[in-house]
């Protein structure tokens, strides 16, 4: 959008596509796996420990970030159906929001990481 000869859309479309896979496959798989947990073997506290471990939480944050970009990209392109024609302002607002949310998620991850370390 800032270059005339080449669209920057591949970046957003790539994140949208990756997010789509996550929303369609990875998220339901996690939900089903969680539902199938045997509570006598793995109680809630242990489960929280696993989820909050550095590796798991990194994967989790990655999933949430991709979901965010997927959702906001969809909203960006749906604006047109709501008769709002997108311009640079909409682009900056929506993808700026996606970036902010992503940074917040990364912040959460760093907090978890430090809590685990110390």
């Amino acid at each position: 959008m800032f270059r005339k000869d080449r669209s920057d859309e591949p970046i957003y479309w790539g994140l949208f596509g990756a997010g789509g896979m996550v929303v369609a496959i990875v998220l339901p798989a996690i939900i089903i796996a969680t539902m199938g947990l045997n509570h006598s073997v793995l109680d809630t506290a242990m489960f929280a420990n696993v989820i909050l471990s550095p590796v798991f939480s990194l994967a989790f944050i990655g999933i949430m970030i991709l979901c965010t970009w997927h959702a906001l990209h969809r909203i960006y392109h749906t604006l047109h159906d709501l008769t709002i024609h997108v311009g640079t302002l909409h682009h900056l607002l929506i993808y700026g929001l996606a970036l902010l949310i992503s940074l917040a998620f990364i912040g959460c991850y760093l907090i978890i990481l430090f809590k685990n370390l110390f």
């Binding site: 000869d5 669209s7 859309e9 024609h85």
Partner: protein, 247 residues
């Protein structure tokens, strides 16, 4: 036994009419009557000034695209029997300027077709035009683009496309499909040139994958899938360009 169908046609004669108006006709039809035949029947027996384009009568020439009850269709491939018990409303192909009655100005589409170079540009090591050598292509290589080569340039996908409706700069379904068709042809060497058009905002990236073009295409070409495949190609091209100097 012939049934009767009420056909309402949107008329516009630029030298007489300030704006389009509707004219209704009653036509007799049988199981075999196509809309194109019905229109010719109207022209021959009821309203000789009615204008519409047609040529082959067999969904090859792509001339008779028009809106039938709001859906873009080829008149020769639309049969009155499928509308039994209803009325038919015929309008010129949407998203194009109307010249007269059902005749639209397709020059924007034709200009785009020319711009994408819809012909084989020989690779350097392949036979050049005029050379008496064979092009070798395997059935598998043919299968990569065969479906997309069925396009008859009728413009129906442009009438179906909500993105082309709001942005006439968009290259549009048929042009992008033909780009994919020639880029994937093993005999072609023009991909680099054509990717410049694909990569722009007005190329594949204007498509939001509504998919109505594929639903309406009278030849089963599936332009929406060609554009999605084009997006993958363009995304790859984008990544490669990031590592290339001077781009």
């Amino acid at each position: 036994m012939a049934d009767k169908m009420k056909i309402t046609v949107q008329r516009y004669r630029p030298e007489q009419d300030q704006q389009p108006w509707d004219q209704s006709f009653e036509v007799e039809y049988t199981r075999e009557t196509s809309l194109l035949e019905a229109l010719n029947q109207i022209k021959d027996t009821q309203e000789p000034t009615l204008s519409f384009r047609w040529s082959c009568r067999m969904a090859i020439c792509g001339s008779c695209g028009m809106m039938v009850n709001g859906v873009p269709k080829l008149a020769c491939k639309t049969f009155l029997r499928d509308y039994a018990g209803q009325e038919m409303r015929i309008e010129p192909l949407a998203n194009f300027p109307v010249e007269r009655d059902l005749v639209v100005d397709l020059s924007d589409f034709i200009e785009k077709l020319e711009r994408i170079k819809p012909y084989i540009i020989p690779k350097k090591d392949e036979p050049q035009p005029g050379e008496q050598r064979e092009y070798i292509q395997t059935p598998a290589q043919l299968e990569k683009y065969r479906q997309f080569s069925m396009c008859i340039n009728c413009g129906i996908c442009y009438a179906a496309c909500p993105q082309y409706k709001i942005n006439k700069e968009f290259l549009g379904p048929a042009a992008l499909t033909l780009i994919y068709r020639y880029n994937e042809d093993s005999r072609d060497g023009g991909k680099e040139e054509r990717m410049k058009l694909v990569n722009q905002d007005t190329g594949v990236w204007s498509c939001s994958f509504v998919g109505y073009c594929s639903e309406c295409c009278p030849k089963g070409v599936d332009p929406a899938s060609a554009i999605q495949l084009g997006k993958v190609e363009s995304a790859k091209d984008y990544l490669i360009s990031m590592f290339k100097k001077g781009e």
